[in-house]
């Protein structure tokens, strides 16, 4: 009897202690938003993340090790880690002109090596293995995933400082994409065989917009027509969110997925600001959550049932937390100045992504190079888009 009384007393004090501690836990990890992103200059976290990436590009052995780990799971991550880093460095150069020479040198190194690898090994080098046995509908075979992101890389570099050699390379990519769009009956281009991605289309259109800014071309009609088509055919009726993937005949393949949508909303900011804002607000309501001070995101809205995949990362049951969507949500929250969500996402990042600091360099152990590069982008984005928006006004 006494033993039962003691067990009950122990359970009672443990319950009280849990009720006190759990709601307070986020306070240990919560930091002001300015620690992650600042309106001007670089935040402490951006500097630390960047220091680690810059170090990787002067240490080939360490870089090789990091890339091998990622390529063992997904070759795309090797490519996207490069692109997110180049876009981040362009924004950093505009925020911190004093360090521009270092950033430019690294950007050129990344771009040149990426182009060399693509030339030597073909586009499949940066694609997941299922691309090879498939047959592309459009000929010649091209991946909009590579063309779009390489074009944005080249344009970002040129927006920080002009480089004549890259002007021709950008024009070539832009022309290839534009011709592709004109030849495609539904204005849809493949990233994988008969598999088109919203993420890749929006970035490709960003590249066209950036080329217009840099070279005085005019792709506004194509951009306008494509967005009008997307609003009509590529929106999930129930959630109002853009679909993530579809065939060249605009048949949906994947629903609205968080790991794509946050970046898509950001990318739409220079294409159609109102639509971008609408997509972010919808994603925030249907995918974003803040529980006990910790922010996170789902991969799918409640109205869509989808499986966990390589993009979503493992999904934590009960709360349906997607690592991929939560990481990319930082880009959305940062792009749309959603401070409460950004602050709570950052608390989760420092709680559950296992930061590791060494000699002023920061990496998240639960992440990888591409994940950390996307975080760096979230911490630095802004100036590139502002330049284009400023020119428009």
């Amino acid at each position: 009897m006494l033993r039962i009384k003691r067990i009950l007393a122990a359970l009672l004090v443990l319950t009280i202690a849990t009720a006190i501690w759990v709601p307070c836990l986020h306070l240990v990890f919560a930091r002001p938003v300015s620690n992650f992103r600042q309106a001007e200059g670089l935040s402490p976290k951006a500097r630390q993340l960047a220091a680690r990436h810059l170090q990787l590009w002067v240490d080939p052995d360490q870089r090789q090790k990091e890339l091998e780990r990622m390529r063992a799971s997904n070759a795309e991550w090797d490519f996207m880690g490069r692109t997110f880093l180049v876009w981040s460095l362009a924004n950093m150069g505009l925020r911190d002109p004093g360090s521009k020479p270092v950033y430019l040198r690294t950007m050129d190194q990344i771009i040149d090596e990426t182009l060399r690898l693509e030339k030597e090994n073909g586009m499949y080098f940066f694609l997941m293995s299922y691309a090879q046995p498939g047959r592309y509908v459009m000929k010649p075979e091209r991946s909009l995933f590579l063309d779009g992101e390489i074009a944005v890389m080249l344009a970002s570099r040129r927006m920080l400082e002009e480089k004549e050699e890259y002007k021709k390379l950008l024009t070539e990519r832009v022309d290839l994409m534009t011709e592709g769009f004109h030849r495609s009956p539904h204005l849809l281009l493949e990233s994988y065989p008969d598999e088109c991605w919203m993420f890749d289309h929006c970035l490709a259109l960003d590249a066209l917009k950036m080329a217009d800014y840099l070279d005085g071309t005019d792709h506004s009609k194509l951009i306008h027509d494509w967005i009008a088509m997307a609003k009509l055919k590529l929106v999930d009726r129930e959630s109002g969110l853009l679909l993530s993937s579809f065939t060249t005949d605009d048949v949906p393949l994947g629903g609205p997925e968080g790991s794509s949508l946050w970046m898509v909303a950001h990318s739409l900011q220079i294409l159609d600001p109102e639509f971008a804002h609408d997509q972010y607000q919808r994603a925030r309501r249907q995918l974003g959550e803040i529980t006990l001070g910790f922010g996170y995101a789902h991969e799918w809205p409640k109205t869509w049932v989808g499986p966990a995949n390589i993009d979503s990362g493992p999904v934590v049951p009960v709360f349906n937390i997607s690592a991929g969507s939560s990481g990319m949500a930082l880009i959305g929250a940062s792009a749309f100045d959603d401070e409460p969500f950004l602050k709570s996402l950052n608390a989760t990042l420092d709680f559950a992504a296992f930061p590791s600091r060494k000699s002023g360099r920061l990496k998240y152990c639960a992440s990888n190079q591409v994940g950390d590069a996307a975080l760096l982008y979230a911490a630095t984005l802004g100036p590139l888009w502002q330049k284009i928006e400023g020119a428009k006004r």
Binding site: L2, R3, K5, R6, I7, A9, A10, V13, L14, I16, A17, T18, I20, W21, V22, L25, V28, K65, E68, R69, M70, A72, S73, N74, W77, I310, G313, P314, A323, G324, F351, A353, F354, S356, C365, A366, S367, N368, G371
Partner: protein, 116 residues
């Protein structure tokens, strides 16, 4: 070790409450485990959370196991240890209240007995 963890809910006083020390011992064990995991470099294996192998010199299952073990120990330290410490504190306060109340009851009973 035989003494350590030997008193699950044994009370050291007459209050009938479980031992606060017992909870603190568990908290201490979790902290020690965490220090060992940290020094052993298991933190880097948490990349399993995004589907990246912690080390290319190791097979997937072993690397994933190390990553998951680190996550559990870390959650133990960040969530469970403070709860155990708080619970131990609450027990101490509870015991003090009971002891004060017991002493008051005893002196009241003694006074009544003397009067009787």
């Amino acid at each position: 070790m035989s003494k350590f963890f030997s008193r699950p809910f044994r009370s050291s006083s007459r209050s009938g409450l479980p031992s606060a020390i017992y909870l603190l011992e568990w908290a201490g064990l979790l902290v020690v485990l965490f220090i060992i995991a940290q020094v052993a470099g298991l933190r880097s294996f948490t990349s399993v959370l995004n589907g990246t192998i912690g080390s290319t010199n190791m097979d997937w299952n072993s690397a994933a196991l190390l990553g998951v073990a680190y996550v559990l120990i870390y959650l133990g330290v960040v969530i469970v240890v403070p709860i155990l410490v708080l619970a131990a504190l609450i027990l101490r306060i509870w015991r003090k209240i009971l002891a004060t109340k017991g002493a008051a009851d005893e002196s009241r009973a003694n006074a009544q007995a003397q009067r009787g």
